[in-house]
């Protein structure tokens, strides 16, 4: 994996060129820069002056030629004509533009993924598992899970983000979120605000209650209604314990007290339109404050979102293009769209080509609806931020450009990344614009921030400078061909328990073939429709009992995680490669 940009924190006042030369020597010719920790070198000054820059203080509020002065982590002066302190590091920024650094509304940045276990622990009664096993962990705090040197922090900062609202990994209720600065020597130093919201997602427990969305919604009703009762008991006992049985403490229900009091919100990640409806309904039925992120199918729920009036953070993850779409040239797309006929009632065998074109046209239009979510919300007068959860940082700026191409104005996009995000997270006093008194979170770019050819030259986080230089474009030879060939042990968590089988996948002349052998020796079956795009793997086979089955999921290295589709049921499937990729 190679990147065009490489970032490093630079706290020193040595001329940049000197450092560059030194680093090039150190790192050798292949790497223009080496990573270095800011804590290695004592910082001489924490004052900087960005001179002669175009300053976009906030969307639509621009100083064409001015200076920004930063000291000790704060913006201390912004204007056309400001005094530059004698001890400031002066940065000639006359060809550059200064923006407030971006704010990420929801992600797991800085929170390392827990090591995945292939076999979730067996429980005696799957209908009544321990809370931790069931993914019911609303008492946890992401602050205890932060890692200051996690690579995800560097990666997100590199594309212009200074702050992220981060949540723990987990299943349905993974714990409480925090708002963090994307830089700092320790986890504590990064925390801007802890205990920000209670994170929730419709991610069922593996093999135990609550597995399905309907059980998760039922669990939420149970938890909140019982928490209400416990809170009454607790308050009564606190006021006067005499003659009362001592209330039974438990961390899960007690974690809901601020939710019941409406002093904290439930922050739901919603992945499709149905999840949006579910989260809105839970919130209105149970009376808790809601924030939503994800919203990739919000195009179908705009009216409901207008009525709900809750903070929204739209995913920057855009739908992957199917192979045919990725290959297609723009003028061919025009032809496909032009030939679209909504009224076709032609038998497939009579005109296969027409049917294919219609399917393609509908898929193009469909993709447009997903890319257009931010535009739709903006057109409906809603305020929103963005979420980077699940997006490769390297894709973020390209995705924002695509969203803008689909009709969101640049100002609206910038607002969603800065001022509006700050407002929705309750941080507009400290973040979101280039104004005196705010935290010095800045982007310095060599052109308009959404321009295709624009590079980010500096990112300031909490007044710390991170420098990015253009690296020589180099051949992308390091990218290794990923293959799923080999022998895999697949385990499905069926309602009847676990069922395993060995899947052998062979790669020949660019296409896969394979077999499935059940562990109980009942059958060895040929697989069909095997597809692998470097990440997503799916294949089907005909089970002698169940009929056609399809497994679909994601491969990372030698592990697979996904779902099996049997009729209308879905179950979790995991896999582990047992042999070398062959």
């Amino acid at each position: 994996m190679s990147r065009n940009l490489s970032g490093e924190p630079c706290g020193e006042v040595l001329p940049i060129r000197t450092i560059l030369v030194a680093l090039v020597f150190l790192a050798g010719a292949t790497e223009a820069f080496a990573q270095r920790d800011a804590s290695d070198i004592p910082t001489v000054t924490r004052a900087y002056a960005l001179e002669g820059a175009r300053i976009v203080q906030a969307p639509g509020r621009v100083i064409e030629h001015g200076t920004v002065v930063i000291r000790d982590g704060l913006i201390v002066a912004v204007g056309e004509d400001v005094d530059i302190p004698y001890d400031a590091e002066r940065i000639a920024a006359d060809s550059m533009t200064v923006y407030a650094a971006f704010i990420d509304g929801l992600s797991m940045t800085g929170v390392p993924a827990p090591k995945r276990t292939n076999e979730p622990a067996q429980v005696d009664d799957p209908g009544n598992p321990e809370d931790d096993r069931a993914g019911i962990q609303p008492q946890r705090d992401v602050r205890t899970m932060l890692k200051a040197d996690d690579k995800s922090i560097t990666a997100l900062r590199e594309v212009g983000f200074g702050v992220a609202h981060v949540v723990p990994h987990g299943r349905f209720l993974p714990g409480n979120s925090a708002i963090i600065l994307l830089g700092g020597k320790s986890a504590d130093e990064m925390v801007l605000r802890g205990d920000a919201a209670m994170f929730a997602q419709f991610q069922g427990a593996r093999g135990v209650y609550p597995r399905t969305p309907m059980a998760m919604t039922a669990k939420m009703r149970q938890l909140i209604r019982e928490a209400r009762r416990r809170q009454v008991m607790e308050n009564r006992y606190r006021a006067n314990p005499s003659g009362l049985a001592r209330p039974e403490y438990d961390d899960v229900h007690y974690a809901f007290f601020p939710i019941i009091d409406n002093t904290k919100s439930v922050f739901f990640f919603v992945d499709d339109a149905l999840e949006i409806h579910r989260a809105l309904k839970l919130s209105s039925d149970l009376g808790f404050d809601l924030m939503l992120a994800g919203l990739n199918e919000a195009f179908d729920t705009v009216d409901e979102l207008v009525a709900a009036d809750v903070p929204l953070f739209v995913t920057l993850n855009l739908p992957e293009k199917p192979k045919w779409m990725a290959k297609m040239k723009r003028d061919s797309i025009e032809t496909v769209l032009a030939s679209f006929n909504d009224e076709t009632r032609t038998a497939t065998y009579r005109d296969l080509e027409a049917e294919k074109r219609n399917l393609e046209a509908r898929q193009l239009m469909s993709r447009d609806r997903y890319v257009g979510v931010a535009r739709d919300l903006n057109d409906a007068g809603l305020t929103f931020g963005f979420s980077t959860l699940g997006v490769k940082p390297a894709d973020i700026r390209g995705n924002i450009r695509e969203i803008i191409e689909r009709g969101l104005s640049e100002n609206a996009a910038l607002a969603a990344l800065t001022t509006d995000a700050a407002e929705l997270l309750g941080l507009s006093g400290a973040l979101g614009s280039v104004d005196t008194g705010k935290i010095a979170n800045l982007i310095v770019s060599d052109g308009p921030i959404f321009g295709e050819k624009t590079h980010i030259r500096y990112v300031f986080v909490d007044g710390h400078k991170f420098l990015y230089e253009k690296k020589e474009e180099k051949e992308d030879a390091s990218e290794e061909e990923v293959t799923v060939a080999g022998e895999w042990l697949f385990t499905a968590f069926t309602p009847e328990g676990e069922r395993s089988g060995t899947v052998t996948l062979k790669l020949e002349a660019g296409s896969y073939s394979g077999t499935m052998a059940y562990e109980d020796g009942t059958a060895t079956i040929e697989l069909y429709s095997i597809s692998f795009d470097g990440e997503s793997l799916s294949f089907s086979w005909d089970d002698p009992d169940e009929g056609p089955m399809t497994v679909e999921g994601v491969v990372s290295a030698d592990e697979f995680e996904g779902v099996a589709l049997v009729g209308m049921d879905e179950m979790t499937v995991i896999g582990k490669r047992r042999s070398d990729p062959g």
């Binding site: 209908g127 999840e275 009709g407 009847e496 328990g497 799916s538 209308m568």
Partner: protein, 457 residues
């Protein structure tokens, strides 16, 4: 140019669907053979639907201004078909982690994007009872929906005012799912046997009774002592208590005569009198007992032998039940079979010699009764909902094909306007040639994959 084209087309699509959202319509259907179900067959008659309700039935009716008239000369008009057992339009079906999950409700997982809704309309079906699966002895609460294809808010499909119902299941499914869990690993839980199924039921009802008692005691004590300790809240017991209170209709997956009798004994002990036995392949053996209890049956026309406990049945099941005075419906339990329920009804006539009205009742007024919606749908009567379907022949003829289907007076299916691609949601990432992704509408797979991707990064 590119952007303009794509936006204009997308807009066109959005408009054509959202315009239909949960509205009521008016229509005059003229000169049809009207199969009223509850009031005989009316030749050459007109039915006027105004704002979603049947307002007049007669001859030479005229349409008020602006109301569309449909000439149904030579055609047959019948009430929209009702499927008393279905799993369409759901994004999950079984919460199979526990033998009792009364607290879950299908209301939370209604999926209005499911193409099966449109296909059911094409088979003249206007209402489905979409149920929890049969993995658990007491499964979740079901949802009764109207097939308002095009609505994307799940609540828009709800049959407003339909009584609450719940799924029970006896026999091999719950004993297999829970009693054989984990093979021989020792992770099996009750019920392992049919005795266990009964015990699970009795325990659940007894727990709920204790729960009701605890709250009753609390309410009494509270009048004397404002600091009385409130009992623990339990969503599951709340729902089972509502069954005991008669507020929820029980629909029970069952096959064998012995287990049917068992459930009636259990319900009697707990004072529950509403019960519809679903599938009930051996119900004909205990038809007098069912009639005496006032139990209903909802059966397949001629489907059995697909597993051991359903080895023994007969295509005369529906007819025998009917002749014994048991209100019987014929259901699909299938996204394919629901498209020709009129054929299924006809089979009962072929085997049991039922009258036309008796046979058609089994897919109209009888399921309506079993779902507690017979005051709204199931027959063509003034004041009932404008849920209607037009056939080009008598619906019990194998040659008949549904032509148009109306819900609340709105036409949701018209064979002459049946487009190739009526999907409401198109997966933006699937390959065109992937049958599973394109046709099965398994969009949720995509959603899950996204989450998995996210977690892997």
């Amino acid at each position: 140019m590119f952007r303009k084209t794509i936006t204009a087309l997308a807009l066109l699509f959005a408009l054509s669907y959202s315009a239909m959202a949960q509205e009521t319509g008016s229509v005059l259907i003229r000169n049809a053979t009207v199969l009223t179900i509850t009031n005989g067959t009316l030749e050459n008659s007109d039915v006027l639907v105004l704002n979603g309700k049947i307002s007049r039935i007669g001859t030479s009716l005229s349409a008020p201004d602006g109301v569309e008239t449909i000439d149904a000369t030579g055609r047959f008009l019948m009430p929209g078909i009702i499927d008393a057992h279905s799993h369409i339009a759901l994004s999950s079906i079984n919460e199979s982690s526990s033998p009792v999950t009364a607290e879950v409700t299908m209301e939370d997982v209604v999926n209005p994007y499911d193409l099966s809704i449109y296909r059911a309309l094409a088979g003249g079906v206007t209402t489905s009872h979409i149920m929890h699966g049969s993995a658990n002895v007491i499964g979740g609460q079901n949802e009764t929906i109207k097939h308002r294809w095009g609505v994307t808010n799940p609540d828009g499909l709800r049959f407003e005012g339909a009584p609450r119902t719940i799924k029970f299941a006896l026999g091999e499914n719950p004993t297999r799912v829970h009693g054989k869990r984990g093979g021989r690993s020792g992770n099996a839980i009750r019920p392992v046997t049919r005795m266990g199924v009964e015990a699970v039921l009795r325990d659940a009802f007894s727990d709920a009774r204790r729960y009701m008692d605890a709250w009753d005691r609390y309410e009494t004590e509270r009048t004397r002592n404002p600091r009385a300790t409130r009992p623990e809240y339990n969503e599951r017991s709340e729902v089972i208590a509502d069954i005991i209170r008669g507020q929820i209709l029980v629909h029970c997956h069952s096959y064998r005569a012995d287990e049917i009798l068992m459930l009636m004994r259990v319900l009697k002990d707990f004072g529950v009198d509403s019960i519809t036995f679903q599938h009930a392949n051996e119900a004909f053996k205990v038809a007098p007992e069912l009639a005496e209890f006032g139990a209903y049956a909802s059966v397949f026309s001629d489907w059995w032998s697909y597993k051991f406990e359903v080895y023994y049945s007969t295509a005369y099941n529906a007819a025998i039940l009917t002749r014994n005075g048991v209100v019987t419906s014929i259901n699909s339990d299938s996204r394919e079979l629901n498209r020709h329920l009129y054929h299924e009804a006809a089979k009962s006539q072929r085997y049991g010699g039922l009258t036309d009205t008796e046979a058609l009742s089994m897919i109209t007024i009888n399921p309506a009764l079993q779902l507690g919606i017979n005051d709204r749908v199931g027959s063509i009567e003034v004041g009932k909902d404008g849920d209607l379907t037009i056939f080009d022949g008598h619906p019990l003829s194998v040659y008949a094909v549904p032509q148009m289907t109306f819900v609340d007076g709105v036409k949701y299916f018209d064979r002459d306007e049946d487009r190739d691609d009526v999907r409401l949601r198109v997966n933006p990432s699937s390959e065109i040639d992937s049958y599973v992704e394109q046709v099965s509408g398994l969009h949720s797979v995509h959603g899950i994959r996204k989450i998995e991707e996210r977690r892997n990064r």
